[in-house]
């Protein structure tokens, strides 16, 4: 009997709870500028530099930080139904192009800022320009990639840790592989009993090759194009990957796995291909083991490496029809042009921002020297690499096709005995693209 009453009470309580809970959920959103961002650091910058008390904007900014993939799903839903849209959105380089392509439908043009773009890196402007010629986004940072290596290992193996000297050993893929073999056979009198692996994950070269192509994945008629640097010749992506794998020159990790990160301090791996931001987030954040005894902090230096590429980047767009048009544009402009912000951020995080002039200033600025890189000032190399980036290769399909291509390059490199030939792997890659992206014509 007791049980029954308890049950009845519990049920009615639950029903009341439902009503109360839902009522509580019904408050109206105040008038705020809504900003969606996929990155906590970026959100913090808005609080620290933009929506500050001194600046006294006169309105509030509501910052919603959501992981990238989830944010895009949410954004697609919002755009499709035209409801619950934010005012400003931070997008990421690998996935933002589809919104630029649809810019006329969804985004506010930022053409009035075209004259401000003179100081920006051309590729960020090219990538942010829609097919209709309007400018739809401004990039906050520029993300050229470099090769970061361990000074102590360089000293031991090549007799010097000077970036200019080391670059000579890694300036082409041919030299890169030669040096990789030297490293592998180097034991340093027992200091490195298993030799040194040139990189941790051999597929890291995928982003280097894909980022340094001369042609994008599709031409103007949406035909699939495979850049020759990926498949043709001894030093193409596929062959270099296979050499690294079969000759045991890499540590055979997967980028982003635990071992990949512990390789940063563990004395097994010579270097990493990383973009500007990656030096800080991927290397510096992981350079000390948990006991605090082993660290590679300060033992790093960067060189341009065998190819100029880029990885990532944050772009700001203003959503069409926003009630906060002027404020939103002002916001976007600030994060691509404000000198104090750009310089401070660059120095604090070793990051590289989208303004040629300010970044040039940092080359001579000793406060911009990077302790993690053994006091090296990275900006001249960043600038050199950034100048070479080709924005035309950015297409809306990049994230999908890159990973599909890497999957087949991996099959070619790894499946001993059962491995496809390059021609077979390419044919299968084309099949895979055809099966997932129907808007692309595959020959």
């Amino acid at each position: 009997m007791k049980g029954k009453r308890v049950m009845a009470v519990a049920l009615s309580a639950a029903l009341l709870g439902t009503a109360a809970g839902v009522m509580a959920g019904c408050n109206n959103r105040g008038d705020k500028l809504i900003y969606w961002v996929f990155d906590r650091d970026m959100a913090q910058q808005v609080r620290d530099y933009y929506a500050t008390e001194e600046r006294n904007l006169g309105y509030e900014i509501e910052i919603e930080t959501v992981p990238l993939e989830s944010m895009l799903t949410r954004l697609d839903n919002a755009l499709r139904t035209g409801t619950n849209l934010p005012d400003v959105v931070a997008l990421e380089a690998e996935t933002f192009k589809k919104y630029i392509d649809e810019g006329a439908q969804f985004l506010e043009p930022l053409d009035e800022y075209k004259d401000l773009t003179a100081n920006m890196y051309d590729y960020t402007v090219e990538a942010a320009t829609g097919p209709d010629g309007h400018l739809y986004a401004l990039a906050t940072n520029v993300t050229p990639g470099v090769f970061a290596y361990r000074r102590s290992m360089a000293e031991a193996v090549f007799g010097t840790d000077d970036p200019e000297e080391i670059q000579k050993h890694f300036d082409t893929w041919e030299h890169f592989l030669e040096s990789a073999r030297t490293l592998k056979n180097f034991t340093g009198g027992g200091d490195y009993p298993e030799g040194i692996k040139v990189i941790s994950s051999y597929m890291d070269i995928g982003k280097v090759f894909c980022g340094s192509r001369t042609q994008g994945w599709v031409d103007e008629n949406d035909r699939l194009v495979i850049d020759a640097s990926l498949t043709d010749g001894e030093y193409s992506m596929m062959e270099v990957a296979k050499t690294l794998q079969t000759e045991d020159l890499s540590h055979e990790t997967t980028s982003g796995d635990g071992t990949y990160y512990s390789d940063v301090w563990d004395n097994k791996v010579f270097g990493f291909f990383q973009a500007t931001w990656g030096l800080n987030t991927n290397l510096k954040n992981n350079c000390t083991d948990s006991s605090g005894e082993i660290t590679s902090d300060g033992d790093w230096a960067i060189i341009p490496g065998p190819a100029a590429y880029f990885e990532g980047g944050t772009y700001h767009v203003v959503i069409k029809g926003t009630k906060w048009l002027e404020e939103a544009k002002e916001f976007v402009k600030f994060f691509s042009t404000d000198e104090t912000y750009l310089k401070n951020w660059a120095k604090e995080h070793g990051d590289f921002m989208n303004n040629k002039e300010y970044m040039q200033d940092l080359v001579e600025d000793e406060t911009a020297n990077n302790a993690f890189l053994g006091g090296q000032n990275p900006y001249s190399i960043f600038i050199e690499q950034a100048e070479k980036i080709n924005g035309e290769i950015i297409t809306r399909y990049d994230s999908e096709i890159n990973s599909t291509f890497e999957a087949w390059a991996t099959n070619y490199a790894e499946l001993d005995g059962k491995a496809p030939t390059i021609a077979e792997a390419v044919a299968q890659f084309k099949n895979a693209v055809a099966a997932s992206l129907t808007s692309i014509t595959v020959d």
Partner: protein, 348 residues
């Protein structure tokens, strides 16, 4: 009159014995008028279900199914009808058929051992022979994996089998596997790992469901059978099993439908990879295919909708077959039971 036949129809999902006394007593033909009025409550009681279902599930679903006949993709706003093009296109896609095959393979590799183990353990825990200590604790532990979110489960297992420092990967190399092997590039190992994760996550769930079924059996049925001199084996095979059959059927149907729609683990674990020839993928299930088609790349909702319609039809056929098989089994079982009872001079 009518009611009589309807009653026997209603008890078709039931397997005989436990129900026999009740069905016998049920037909008391008094208060006919009152019964009719009362039966209206039956309709009243299902109203909330159907109203809510119609609004929150049926409408979105019909909306989606309608999309399969259109050219709705990407951010395209002028939607036009295109007929069955999406269905015929899909039928020519090796990747789609492979995803169906993967779904079935992963399901079978997970479900058969899962049910077997669940049944054994449920029997072990509900049997009264061995005064086991800590039955509750064991049961509790077995269900734990089901509580974890799929995201963390996928990450956890991914780490365990990852080259070169995953714990289980290293164990395998100690057992003679080459250190060059990357399990995630190999179709069968990838499938097996996913099936194992599914087994691991759902074993406890099935076991609890089955235990609940066994616990729900009226103990007097056992007593009666025992008094009648039935052996333990007979009791298990001919009384316990048939009596929990509704629950087993429930598990079978729900698991099969769940298995055909499995999404989380295959998607989070290897996102459908490794790649096979002809654009096919080794662990991509139909649900993963649908998701990828609709929400990545070209965002082809029409194709994804057509694929879900196919999946729906397949689910229908499979469950129809399942019900037919289990139903005919039940009839046979009931007849056998009746014969047995008749032979022994009746139990109940």
């Amino acid at each position: 009159m009518m009611r009589h036949s309807e009653n026997s129809v209603a008890s078709e999902g039931v397997s005989g014995v436990g129900q026999l006394p009740e069905t016998a007593e049920e037909q008391q033909p008094k208060k006919k008028k009152f019964r009719w009025k009362v039966d209206y409550y039956g309709i009243l009681f299902i109203v909330p279900f159907f109203v809510v279902y119609a609004i929150f599930s049926l409408y979105p679903m019909i909306y989606s199914i309608a999309l399969s006949l259109t050219d709705y993709e990407g951010f395209n706003r002028d939607i036009g009808l295109v007929g069955f093009v999406n269905f015929t296109w899909l039928a020519t896609q090796p990747r789609f058929w492979q995803s169906l095959l993967n779904t079935v393979m992963i399901f079978c590799m997970n479900f058969v051992p899962q049910m077997l183990f669940a049944l054994i353990f449920a029997a072990m825990f509900t049997g009264k022979t061995y005064k086991m200590r800590g039955k509750g604790a064991f049961k509790g532990i077995y269900y734990l994996p089901n509580i974890l979110t799929a995201t963390s489960v996928a990450v956890m297992f991914y780490t365990l089998f990852a080259r070169p420092s995953g714990g289980l990967w290293q164990l395998l190399t100690h057992m003679g596997m080459s250190t060059d092997v990357n399990l995630y590039l190999m179709p069968w190992p990838s499938r097996i790992i996913i099936a194992f994760i599914q087994f691991w996550m759902w074993f406890g769930n099935s076991m609890i469901t089955l235990s609940a079924g066994i616990l729900g059996i009226n103990p007097s049925v056992f007593e009666a059978a025992q008094l009648d001199g039935a052996s333990q084996k007979d009791i298990f095979v001919h009384i316990t099993l048939p009596l929990i059959k509704p629950i087993v059927v429930y598990s079978l149907v729900v698991s099969t439908l769940g298995g055909l729609q499995v999404f989380d683990i295959p998607y989070l674990f290897l996102s459908g990879g490794p790649a096979l020839t002809d654009g096919r993928n080794a662990t991509e299930t139909v649900a993963v295919y649908i998701y990828k088609m609709a929400f990545t790349g070209d965002m082809r909702y029409n194709i994804a909708s057509a694929a879900s319609v196919y999946l729906f039809v397949i689910c229908m056929i499979v469950s129809f077959v399942l019900f037919r098989i289990t139903h005919s089994d039940e009839l046979k079982e009931q007849k056998r039971m009746e014969r047995r009872i008749a032979k022994r001079g009746g139990v109940a």
